[in-house]
Structure formats: C-alpha cells, structure tokens
C-alpha cells in the first residue's frame, strides 16, 4: 500500500511495510466492526413506546462472553502484530550482515556530511570522498553506515529504505542497508534538531557500478589517480 506512494528500495523495506499494512488492516477491520456494532446497537435498542430499558449486570454468560471473546481476539491480533514487528526489528536493527562497503554519516545543525570510501573501498583513508548533503551508494551492495552527530540529536531517515535511526552525540551508531533499485531519493532528518530542522534534507543517489565509478572519478581527492577507481570497487563485481 505504502509502496504506491514511496518505492521500496531496500531489502527490508517490504518487511517494514508489511508490519505497517498488518497494523493498518487489523485496526481498520476492528474499527469498522466495532463502529458497526455500536451503530447497530443504537438502532436496534432505540427508544420504543412501552419498552423499558434493560440493565445488564454482566452476570449472565451470553452477554459477558460477547465482550470477553472480543477482548481475547484483540489479544491474539496484538500478539500477531508483535511477532511480525519483533521479527522485522530483529532483522533490521539487531542483525548486522557483513559489509561490502562502509560509509560515515555525520549530522550537524543543519546539514549532513557523507564520507564515502574512495577507490580503496575503505573509509578513514586519504582517498575518502566527503560530500555535503549528497550520499552516493551502489545498488545491490551491503552497506554499513556509521552515524555521528556534531551537536544535538538528529535522525537519519531514508524513506525509500524505510530506514530511520537516531543519531546521538557522543556515540557512533552502526547500521546497515542494501539498496535494491537505483535513482535519486530523499534523505531527511527525522528528529527535531533546532530551527533549521526542516531545512536539512539531503539526497541519496543509488547508482550502478558504472554510474558510481563515473561519480567517483569526478570527485576523487587531488593526488589520487583517476584510474585507481576501477581497481577495487569494480573487482567486487
């Protein structure tokens, strides 16, 4: 349902949308059912000449069971939501598949800095490519991201990945994603971080190997030979 508005472009986007859909359909079903029962009762037991109101004490089994069975059903649905939610949470937030590439994401009031690995495929080396408000990643590649904040709380949110992760000053938070489709999409801050919070959008460019190589060759730090870029990253293909 959500994918009709925001594409699913990570391996776990579908799982997260499934949980949303599950909650939506269960709550919508119950909402319609309960409202229907309410309105039916209002109509069925409307004021009628010569009929006195009946006071139910809840001691008789039949009316009591109607209420308690509905409550039990709610519990079953709650457990179903919890099971799928915890499974998805575990997959996205608890497991950490081995990385093919690692990026560093630095949030500040009110901008993002993305440190990409250069041709050597490693961050924190001389050929890193640092960019403001632009993240370039390879499609179908397992990425680890390391989140840092220079000042206050932020939240690294990539809607097409269904990814949201708080960025907490003083900590380096590691997470992962694997993009399943290419294109240019939004990154946003999803934690109120000051007056410019609404103005710190960035863009993610999910690229094929050829596109990524072309981008890398354009932005290599001076001193790194342009043709180096094809060595390690392409070798992963």
């Amino acid at each position: 349902m959500i994918e009709q508005y925001v594409p699913q472009l990570s391996t776990y986007a579908g799982d997260i949308d499934f949980v949303f859909d599950l909650i939506f359909y269960i709550t919508t079903g119950w909402f319609i059912l309960t409202q229907g029962v309410f309105f039916w009762l209002m109509w069925r037991f409307r004021r009628q000449e010569g009929v006195k109101a009946l006071y139910l004490t809840g001691e008789e089994k039949f009316p009591k069971n109607i209420v308690s069975n509905a409550h039990h059903a709610v519990l079953v649905f709650d457990v179903a939501i919890l099971v799928f939610a915890v499974m998805t949470w575990h997959n996205v937030k608890i497991t950490l598949p081995p990385a093919e590439q690692t990026i560093r994401v630095v949030a500040q009031q009110w901008a993002w800095t993305f440190i990409h690995p250069g041709p050597d495929g490693e961050i924190d080396t001389a050929d890193d490519i640092a960019m403001n408000d632009e993240l370039h990643v390879l499609v179908d590649t397992m990425y680890h991201f390391k989140l840092e904040s220079r000042d206050v709380l932020h939240n690294f949110s990539v809607p097409v990945f269904r990814l949201k992760q708080d960025v907490i000053p003083g900590r380096v938070i590691t997470g992962w994603f694997k993009a399943t489709g290419t294109g240019e999409h939004d990154i946003q801050c999803a934690e109120i971080c000051g007056i410019g919070h609404g103005l710190m959008p960035a863009r993610i460019f999910i690229e094929t190997h050829a596109e990524h190589m072309a981008w890398m060759n354009r932005h290599l730090p001076s001193g790194v030979a342009a043709n180096d870029a094809s060595s390690t990253v392409l070798a992963q293909e």
Partner: protein, 203 residues
C-alpha cells in the same frame, strides 16, 4: 556610520526586519553575533556584501564544504527563501535591514595576537580592505574592522585550507585564498586580527 552602504527603500526595511526574525535566532536581535551558535557579528555590514553572501549560501557556492561547520549551518537558513518570485527581493530586504543596524564591535575572544607583527601582514590586506579596514565595494572587499575575531580566524583558516573561496563561481572568494596563504600559521592569523582590532578606534 561609515560601515553602512547602499541606498534602500523604506518598504524593504520593514520587510527586512520581519525576515530578520529568523536570522536573530543565531546572530542576535541586534546582529551582535553569538559565538556559541557559530554566528558572527553582522550588524551594519553593507547590504551588497550581505546579499552576495546570502546568494552564495543559497546557490551552494559557500557552506557546502564538509569541513565548513558554520557555513553548513548558515546555508539551510537561506533555503527558507524558497519562493522564486520573492527570493531576490527578500534577500535585498533583509540585507538592507542588516546594513541599517548599528555596527557592533564584539569583545575579543582570542588571545596571544601581536598587533605590531600583524601590521606587517596587514599591508597586503590594505589593497582591498583599505588601511582603515572599511572595505571597498568595487573590489568586493567587505569591511573587516568590526569582524568577530574568532570568526576572522575561522575564515582565514577556511580560505587557506580551501574550505571557502574554492568554488569556481566564487571569484571574490578566490582572491582571498592566495591572501590567506601568505599567513603561515595560526599565530600569524591572530597577529593580523589583533591589528585589525586596533583600527576600530580610528573609525
């Protein structure tokens, strides 16, 4: 006051004052600057300079280098001006308002600068910023006599390290880069900043 330059219409100032409400969050109600917010004193800067910098921030010419912490904080603020039909007029209005503010001379926060040594380095700055530090619009050189010292140091370092003024569209910034290269270390920068502060009395 000698710092303010350029004519502005009354309507611009009213609009500018309203728009300045956003700027005041960091730069202070009177444009006095707030070091904790990385916001320098801007009160009384000439409208042409404020406007040119706003447009540079907006266009991503300034404030997009990943090491320009203060600049990356300023750039999003210019993105508030997101209506193409009013953007230029709004930039002009808020610049006129900033220019109309009484210039502030922030208390020095740096220590260890030697104005006598700095005077020698300043001889190079005179060509554009003037012997009195009041700047020269024709050369795109803003007044620096009222500059916050911590901000001056940051900007000199930014120019020297290619964090500011290296965008191909930033011709005025490109002039500052080789100038900053002549200051060999932080001490030399502090010296020249200390000298600039001595110019305040002469204005």
């Amino acid at each position: 006051m000698g710092l303010s330059g350029g004519a502005f219409a009354e309507g611009d100032l009213e609009r500018g004052e309203k728009l300045y409400g956003l700027c005041s969050q960091c730069h202070g109600v009177e444009g006095e600057g707030v070091p904790l917010s990385l916001a320098p004193s801007i009160a009384g800067l000439p409208a042409w300079y404020v406007e040119s910098q706003l447009k540079k921030f907006y266009g991503g010419i300034r404030g997009r280098h990943p090491d320009d912490i203060g600049g990356m904080r300023m750039r999003p603020m210019t993105l508030y001006f997101n209506r193409p039909d009013t953007r230029d007029a709004d930039f002009a209005a808020v610049s006129a308002y900033v220019a109309s503010l009484e210039p502030k001379y922030p208390e020095p926060l740096l220590s260890g600068g030697d104005p006598e040594k700095g005077q020698a380095s300043y001889s190079l700055c005179i060509a554009c910023h003037g012997a009195d530090g009041l700047g020269n619009e024709a050369l795109q050189a803003p007044p620096i006599v009222q500059i916050s010292d911590w901000y001056a140091l940051t900007q000199l370092k930014n120019y020297k390290n290619g964090i500011r003024g290296r965008d191909p569209r930033d011709s005025a910034g490109a002039t500052m880069w080789p100038m900053a290269m002549t200051l060999e270390d932080e001490q030399a920068m502090k010296d020249v900043i200390a000298y600039i502060e001595t110019l305040r009395g002469s204005n």
